[in-house]
């Protein structure tokens, strides 16, 4: 009956979204008077999960799962859910989890609600609040099936410490034959990704050309932030498509989003509105971004950003 949660790791270490998903599963388990079981795949030390409310870990170690495969991972989760008799399964909103979840929903005959932002307001009927219309609204959705699958939005519920000690059990599910095979992975190393970043620094057409991105990268560097851009910037080829954020690009749900030379078109704002604190730097005081931002500087990016970098360096040196 326990609540099952998929806790993702990268090279053996848990991602923040995994700890957030575990915290969320704990909140549901408390409401339902049950425990939390986490599934880990090729993770090293699982004891940290106890700090976020996990009671039991099903530890899967299988080199056939080194590359992510939606069908195989969904099968692992299905077998774990059946073994635990789980009625609620929690996954995150990473690209991998969003790939796996619909497959798992069919396998488990589970109703699936994605982009969920809060603990369920009720567990019977099981009612969750989720983001719809790309952050322009919320829906209160009930999941009407016996088994429920919840996809948690990033940075919405937060990481909650909840001291427990997790018992660990080796788990060796059978794997289906893989018919989608990974040939190569091309991943930037040593750079924060937009998906994982606490802070995102984003540049728009106001920066005039790709040659001016040095200061955006420098600003991101001092802050330990990921870099992003508006759609026209990626359409013009100034920056790679993978940096395009907004309604038709990547969603951003960081703690801090800094927009430089971005006007704040409705499609841009929709995609970044889930960020907690928004800062805009723009020469035009009438730019719509000022209506969406928490802090703003009306000024020329080419003057303001270098100063901001200097101020941040001084600030960091004092920390």
């Amino acid at each position: 009956m326990s609540v099952l949660v998929y806790t993702e790791s990268d090279k053996g270490t848990f991602k923040k979204i995994a700890l957030e998903a575990a915290s969320y599963a704990k909140a549901i388990a408390d409401k339902m008077g049950t425990t939390v079981t986490a599934v880990t795949v090729n993770a090293d030390d699982t004891s940290v999960l106890g700090n976020y409310g996990v009671d039991k870990v099903l530890k899967v170690n299988d080199s056939n799962l080194d590359a992510f495969n939606a069908k195989s991972y969904a099968s692992v989760m299905q077998q774990a859910a059946e073994k635990e008799g789980a009625k609620v399964v929690v996954v995150s909103s990473s690209a991998d989890s969003k790939y796996m979840a619909p497959v798992l929903a069919v396998n488990l005959n589970a109703g699936y609600a994605s982009n969920v932002v809060e603990a369920p307001s009720n567990t019977s009927p099981f009612t969750v609040k989720r983001n719809v219309f790309t952050n322009k609204a919320f829906a209160n959705t009930t999941i009407d099936t016996d088994v429920k699958l919840v996809g948690l939005s990033k940075n919405a519920f937060g990481v909650v410490e909840n001291s427990a000690s997790a018992t660990e059990e080796a788990f060796s599910p059978s794997l289906p034959e893989s018919t989608v095979n990974v040939e190569s992975v091309d991943k930037v190393t040593g750079k924060v990704t937009i998906a994982d970043a606490e802070i995102v620094v984003s540049g728009g057409r106001g920066l005039k050309g790709p040659e001016n991105w040095g200061m955006i990268e420098d600003l991101a560097d001092v802050l330990g932030a990921a870099t992003a851009c508006s759609k026209p910037v990626s359409d013009l080829g100034w920056r790679p498509h993978s940096e395009h954020v907004g309604q038709t690009g990547k969603p951003v749900a960081s703690n801090l989003y800094i927009a430089v030379g971005i006007s704040g078109a409705i499609q841009h704002l929709a995609g970044i509105n889930a960020s907690k604190v928004k800062v805009v730097i723009n020469t035009d005081p009438e730019a719509p971004f000022f209506k969406a931002a928490d802090y703003g500087i009306v000024g020329d990016a080419f003057e303001v950003v270098p100063k901001l970098i200097e101020e941040l360096k001084t600030f960091k040196a004092q920390q």
């Binding site: 619909p102 497959v103 609600a113 982009n115 959705t141 099936t145 990974v182 409705i266």
Partner: protein
Amino acid sequence: MKILVCISHVPDTTSKINFTDGDTKFDTNGVQFVINPNDEFGLTRAMWFKEKQGASVDVVNVGGAETEPTLRKALAIGADTATRVNTEAKDGMQVAKELAKVVQDGGYDLVIAGRESIDYNGGMVPGMLATLLDANFVNNCISLEVDGTSAKAVREIDGGKESVSTSLPLVIGGQKGLVEESDLRIPNMRGIMMARKKPLNVVEPTNASAETTSASFEKPAPKGDVKLVDADNVGELVNLLHNEAKVI
């Protein structure tokens, strides 16, 4: 190769989102509907397969008669035929089950759907459909090539991309990258005229049931005013972000 492109009928990205009937229904008043952007990238890639590899391209939507102008637009862009499954779309699973029937009846090899619809953002129809059909599935697909029954695809992952090899039958959740923005086609007069003559078949649903119910909607709380910092006093921004917002 027989291709089916799933077309979601969604509010234009500039739409103001409001609800009616005591916040239980989306207010379509004054809203312009368009082909879901992710689906439009997929449809455009399908046209490439048609022109370069002789594929047939059909489009499908699960929805009421009000979605027909959106299907006609897909026909004007170049799809051969359109099918509308005559039922209101309620949730991802119901739509996936209705689509599965269309795919089976039509014997499609490749189904191109969008990674998500920009209205309810479920992001689940392609994966559910693939699983119901026991077909291969690639999500967040940014490149697709098909040679006979083999396929090579690129999937966007967090922080990079991944190349995979797989085979037909295949379902993808597509997005920008499948084609570029500049490849998108605005239907011309001839396309629009031809679209009027192309078949738009209305089929009755299997009455698959939904598994979730969105009982009510709400809008985000209004935001407070922006706090402006003088361009000559940038240090104040650092101070506010540290002491007030506590994000650095």
